[in-house]
Symmetry: C2
Subunit: 320 residues, 2 copies
């Protein structure tokens, strides 16, 4: 297991580190990218050689962070995984860099402890909250760019301050980031107030496929690989759909099943308080948070659905 | 015009007031109700006789505020309009109480100054921000119920901290309200994370009626009174639709036209920064904020659309 660090200990190791490689999780979201980018700019500001590595491309909507990506320009001397709960989330294409991770900074209570040392705060709404405290401890100036990066992590992981993980601290940090110059209007428009035409198209198809189970307590949405290809929906469009079924009045478990190009099913489970999404997914080889988890299933769609609904039923019974 | 008050002056008048009638605007939203409710509980806590009046019913989703409504139980000695920008927003059915308004507390810069005196802060994201400062000045304990009321105003008027009116102060107050016991998870679920089946139905119809103008810079959605009746969509469902067309990638002006039971058209205009929604509506007898405004049009649908698009074109030209 990892050695557990506090902010001061993590700080002291980072200050000693040279040629730092910051590593995001695959299918990168706003928190892993925003947190890595903020740390990137802070370490760069301290004169360090640093770069960010991710198995998948950084979506273009995050271009404003202006991250320096790792392209082999130095031999990594210290590797820091940011917002990565387990080694399976790195992605195979960067395996040569993830065999040994020096430090992990994360807010997932389920973190497997794969890194040599770890700064973990399971109460933080986002890894960006931890990075904010780290940068404050360093005494780094929170530049407008760093504020943009951290605001991105904070706001995307909380669904713009809507999800159950949001705390007073989340809002306090948001206030400080706005004061530091975060481009609130621009970022909120990019992150939350804009839907591509492909997103609208896939949303309509999702609504058409909607099925209820357990007397309306569970809603399932299913998208074929052909539908995904036809609409041109990208990862962000599809990610957005996952919150849809759970939103429906009376629904306690919302499931989104997306057929992957390889034929396997990527499953996203979203639940209301009291129903444990991570338990549903853990039994199927996946994991995540209490209200948002996921897994990947193989075989026929009917079998996948049946397996899922069996776990959903158990979780709903446990609740009542 | 109204005498302009600061917090201290408003406070001193409120402390002297007896038999206070707090008045919301018609078609009440989270801010007018939440602000009035918070003030109601604070004045009640000071031992005053107080009640809340609104021309329209308070939607049941706000039941948790447990507001004491005015039913003629006392003769009003002091009337306070909360979040009401002009007298036309009171509603005719309560005209006997709105002929003279002693005080108005509001955050709309467009407030017409109809009240004897006014506590106006056009920089506040919501009237709830002003009420929070007022209650802090009184030294009222922010009980969990008051925190719920103010959080409702703050979060609904900012689209859960997404809209351009959100500031560092908004987040700071949100943090304080959470610390004071606002039921964040419950409220966010009620206010933002739940869609009725009728809302989903009306959303699908709205998407089907979508029309683009000016090369995709304007998107218009149209709902007939029959569609509204068939889906059973209520005011909240319909209100939610108004943000939809503006959200589409590339759209600068999003218009929602809802046919009213009387046949007139209720128009909601939402714009991106740089395009003035209130200017578009002001020319058509309406008004509102820079990014969110509205008006009501009579006559044929084609004429209504033509009049709207003429104003939209002017606003888009002004921008570029």
């Amino acid at each position: 297991m990892s050695e557990i660090l506090d902010i001061a200990a993590a700080l002291s190791r980072l200050l000693k580190a040279e040629n730092v490689l910051l590593i995001c999780h695959k299918n990168p979201d706003g928190d892993t990218i925003g947190s890595a980018a903020a740390l990137y700019w802070a370490l760069k500001g301290l004169g360090k050689t640093v770069a960010v590595l991710c198995a998948d491309p950084i979506p273009s909507r995050y271009d404003y962070m202006d991250i320096g990506l790792y392209t082999g320009q130095f031999t990594p001397g210290y590797t820091v995984a940011v917002d990565v709960a387990g080694i399976q989330l790195f992605g195979d294409s960067i395996a040569e860099y993830t065999r040994r991770i020096d430090m992990c900074i994360d807010h997932h209570p389920s973190n497997s402890g794969y890194a040599d040392c770890m700064l973990l705060d399971g109460d933080a709404a986002a890894t960006a909250e931890i990075i904010y405290e780290l940068l404050t401890a360093i005494g780094t100036e929170i530049t407008p760019t760093i504020a943009d990066c951290l605001y991105t992590g904070l706001s995307t992981d909380t669904g713009c301050f809507k999800f159950a993980n949001t705390t007073a601290r989340t809002h306090e940090i948001a206030a400080k980031l706005i004061t530091a110059g975060a481009s609130l209007v621009k970022l909120n428009n990019i992150l939350f107030e804009s839907k591509s035409r492909s997103r609208l198209a896939i949303e309509r198809l999702a609504l058409e496929s909607l099925e209820y189970s357990f007397g309306g307590r569970c809603a399932t949405v299913y998208l074929t690989k052909e539908q995904i290809a036809e609409t041109g929906a990208d990862g962000t469009d599809l990610e957005g759909i996952t919150s849809l079924p759970r939103m429906i009045e009376g629904v306690e478990v919302g499931i989104t099943i997306r057929q992957q190009p390889t034929g396997s099913y990527k499953v996203s489970v979203r639940t209301v308080t009291g129903v444990d999404a991570s338990a549903i997914c853990a039994h199927l080889g996946g994991g995540g948070h209490k209200q948002a988890a996921g897994c990947e299933l193989l075989g026929s769609l009917d079998n996948a659905k049946a397996a899922l609904l069996t776990e959903v039923e158990k979780a709903l019974c446990k609740e009542s």
